[in-house]
Amino acid sequence: MELNIDLNAFLANISLLSLIAIIGISLYGILARPNIIKKIIALTIFTDAANLLAILVGFRAPPSQPPVLLTIKPSPEELQSFSQVAVDPLPQALVLTAVVIGMAVNLLIIFIALQVYRLYGTLDVRRIRRLKG
């Protein structure tokens, strides 16, 4: 079968649409699933997908390289060619802290879920809603 389309764009579109679908599925998980643990799992997947989308903003079509210089005494020509091929380091720096801080906040949510179970005896939001006090 002859494919008369831009294959690179086709594959890139598959990845983009998959990422959007992942965001949609995890949003469904956060909003519609009754169990708090399932909500936490969906929330982490949603955070990860959002972070990946942020990285994707700074991506540059191959041939490209990570934003790390391979020499510690660069000449001006090397710096010039480096800035022409390296990807955007700013989203990576922001996501780097977001991943670790997000994990710490997730751990706080896990502790709160544990406390909810100790007080109510269940992690099902429908049953927690029915219990008064």
Binding site: I5, D6, A9, F10, A12, N13, I14, L16, L17, S18, A21, G58, F59, R60, A61, P66, P67, V68, L69, L70, T71, I72, P74, P76, L79, Q80, F82, S83, A86, V87, D88, P89, L90, Q92, A93, L94, L96, T97, A98, V99, V100, I101, M103, A104, V105, L107, L108, I110, F111, I112, L114, Q115, R118
Partner: protein, 271 residues
């Protein structure tokens, strides 16, 4: 299970067909064909001795942005990290991890324990090298802390949490090491101002290399080795803070539920 597989397959096929249809038109336009001008500034100045008032003196663009160009952001992110872990500890207030259950703490089989003992030194070496080379190669304080925080978790699962208690790694010890890390970050942030005040030159908070109106700069080279001024200090401090922050959480999370309930109930009767 079969229903889920059918739905997953049809989802994949839908996405591939949708991508094909989108590509048949003009598509989403040219993808990934360049970066923003700001990014080029960062890439050109991350290690550029010919522009001393803009460079961060580190070949690693990401670490340079995390701790130099946008250092204050990271400082406050670390504050959020601190507060999240303090919040988790506050939920466990009054619960001591030193109480032991009879008969518990056997751990997994001999094979797992021996393999763990072999792997732990390798893991420590990798994490430390990630932290110490954070300004030269991909890596840094956050990455090293995350890699190191796996160790207490593996120890708890393979040997039970009583091993950490026998090694004298309690909640208080972890809190102390974490405070050392945070104090290191704060100190490194204030060192330029202190030196500036003492020697009478202009200096800013979290300054690394010299700026146009502040001629103070931390040493970029230690002998022949490139240390990138404050970056290596920040990386080591953040390494300590992240490692022991997560360790503390795991110490608390591994306490048996019976002990926690007993102590929390005891608390309620007292007050």
């Amino acid at each position: 299970m079969r229903k889920e597989l059918i739905v997953a397959t049809s989802l994949t096929v839908t996405i591939i067909v949708l991508a094909y249809v989108i590509t048949l038109g003009s598509g989403l336009g040219p993808l990934f064909n360049g970066i923003r001008p700001l990014a080029e500034v960062y890439l050109r100045t991350t290690l550029n001795p010919s522009q001393p008032s803009f460079t961060a003196m580190s070949p690693e663009g990401v670490t340079a942005i995390v701790w130099d160009y946008r250092g204050l952001d990271t400082l406050f992110e670390t504050a959020v990290f601190y507060l999240a872990i303090i919040g988790a500890i506050a939920i466990y207030r009054g619960v001591s991890e030193k109480v032991r259950l009879n008969g518990a703490g056997v751990g997994l089989s001999m094979i797992v324990k021996v393999v763990t003992k072999v792997l732990i030194p390798i893991n420590i070496a990798i994490a430390t090298s990630i932290a110490l080379h954070g300004h030269l190669t991909p890596g840094g304080g956050f990455q090293a802390g995350a890699a190191m925080a796996v160790i207490p978790m593996i120890l708890i699962i393979a040997f039970s949490r009583y091993l950490l208690l026998d090694l004298k790694i309690s909640k208080e010890v972890a809190l102390a090491f974490r405070s050392i890390g945070l104090a290191g970050i704060a100190l490194t942030a204030f060192v330029p101002i202190l030196i500036g005040l003492l020697s009478g030159v202009n200096a800013y908070i979290m300054q690394n290399q010299l700026k146009a109106d502040a001629s103070f700069s931390l040493p970029a080279y230690l002998g022949d080795a490139l240390v990138s001024g404050s970056l290596i200090l920040y990386n080591i401090s953040e390494y300590l803070a992240v490692t022991f922050g997560f360790s503390m959480i795991f110490l608390l999370l591994s306490i048996e539920e019976d002990i926690v309930k007993e102590q929390m109930r005891g608390d309620g009767v007292e007050h």
